[in-house]
Symmetry: C2
Subunit: 178 residues, 2 copies
DNA sequence: TTGCTCCTCACGTCACGTGAGGTGGC
DNA sequence: TTGCTCCTCACGTCACGTGAGGTGGC
C-alpha cells in the first residue's frame, strides 16, 4: 500500500498529476487510510505501469483509458495514428526552426539546428573522398533499402518536391538496371 | 479598411484568432464602423504582417507583443532560445516515436518514422560500395565541418552517449593527425 | 424576407501546476 | 511543538474554437 507521494516518486511524477488521474477516473486508489489518505495497492501500481508505458508513447489520457478499460480497442491503430501525428508535429516544429533560421540569417545558428542542408552534406561526403559516382550509388541503395526514409532524408535537407522526385526517380531507374 | 473577416482571409487565420488578438491587446483595430464592426487600417495590416512572421517562427504571443511594442527587446536572444526549445521539443517527440516503435515491434512501422538506425545506415553505405576506411574518413570530416550536427546525427541513429563519445573522439583525433 | 457578416459574452480544451485553508502522524 | 505528508476546492495556463442570442447591410 503506497500513499500518493510514494507512488509519485516511484514513477517520477508529481502528486498533482496523480490527483488529476484520480479526478478523471484514469487511476483511482483502491483504498483510503483512516485519515482519508489515498492508498494504492499492488494492482494499482501495475495499472500505473501500463499507463506510464502509453504516456511515454504520447497517447492522450482518454485513449489510454480506452486501451486499459476495453478489450476491443485497436491499440495498434492508435499507435500508428499517433506515429503519423508525431511526424506531422515534428514537421511543424522543423518548419518553425527554419523560419527562425531565416530570421537570424546566421550560419552559426543554423549549425545549432538539427538540420543539415544539401551543400553541407555533399561537402562532408566529398571531403571524405566520395566521388559523384559513389554518391549516386549511395542514393540508389538508400532508395532500394529504405525508400520512405530516403524521402524523409531528402526533405530534411530542404530540397523541394520536384528535386526529390528527380533524385528518387533516377535512383529507382539505376537500381532496376543494376 | 478591412473588416475582421477580410483580414482573417488575407492571412489564412480564423476570425476567432483575430478576436483573441484584440482581446489580449496584440492587434486591436484602429477604427469601428457605424454598426460597430472592427475596421483594420493599412497600418494594422502591417502590424499583422509582423505578427505573422514571428507566429510562424513559433514565438509566444506575449513575446511577439514585447518585440513589437518595445524597442529594446533582444529579438535575437528570443529567437535563439526558441530554437533551443524547439530542439528539445523535437527530441521529446522523437523519444515518443521511439517508444511507439518499441511497442509496435514492427519493422514496417519503423520505416514510417523519421528515424534510421545504425544498422540500416551502415547497410546503405556498404551497399553503395563504401569501405570501412571511407566510413571513418566520413566521420572525421563530419566532425571537422559540423560537430554539432554530427552529434545530432549520431543521436538520431539511437546510439548511446558512450558510443557517440567514442566515435567523436577518434574522429577528432584522426582529424588532428590528418 | 433571406443570407451573409458582424457583435458580445461565456464556456470548453488538455494535462496538469499552484495556492488557500485545513488535518493527521512521527 | 515542529515538519512533513496528506486532504479538498478553486483558479490559472495557452491560443484559440464553439455556441448562444442578437444586430446591420445588400
Amino acid at each position: 500500500m503506497l500513499t500518493i507521494g510514494q507512488l509519485a516518486r516511484r514513477f517520477g511524477l508529481s502528486r498533482s498529476t496523480l490527483l488529476y488521474y484520480d479526478s478523471i477516473g484514469l487511476l483511482s486508489p483502491s483504498g483510503r487510510s483512516g485519515a482519508n489518505y489515498r492508498l494504492y495497492t499492488e494492482e494499482d501500481v501495475r495499472r500505473m505501469e501500463r499507463i506510464d508505458v502509453y504516456r511515454r508513447a504520447g497517447l492522450a489520457l482518454a485513449d489510454i483509458a480506452r486501451v486499459l478499460d476495453s478489450d476491443d480497442t485497436p491499440l495498434a491503430e492508435l499507435l500508428e495514428e499517433r506515429l503519423q501525428s508525431l511526424n506531422r508535429e515534428i514537421g511543424a516544429l522543423r518548419e518553425k526552426q527554419s523560419r527562425i533560421a531565416d530570421l537570424l540569417e546566421d550560419r552559426a545558428a543554423l549549425r545549432r539546428t538539427r538540420a543539415m542542408d544539401k551543400a553541407g552534406w555533399t561537402a562532408i561526403l566529398r571531403a571524405a573522398g566520395m566521388s559523384d559516382a559513389e554518391m549516386r550509388r549511395w542514393h540508389v541503395e538508400f532508395e532500394r533499402l529504405a525508400p520512405e526514409a530516403h524521402q524523409d532524408f531528402l526533405e530534411s535537407l530542404g530540397l523541394d518536391a520536384e528535386e526529390i522526385g528527380r533524385i528518387r526517380g533516377w535512383s529507382r531507374a539505376e537500381g532496376a538496371r543494376g
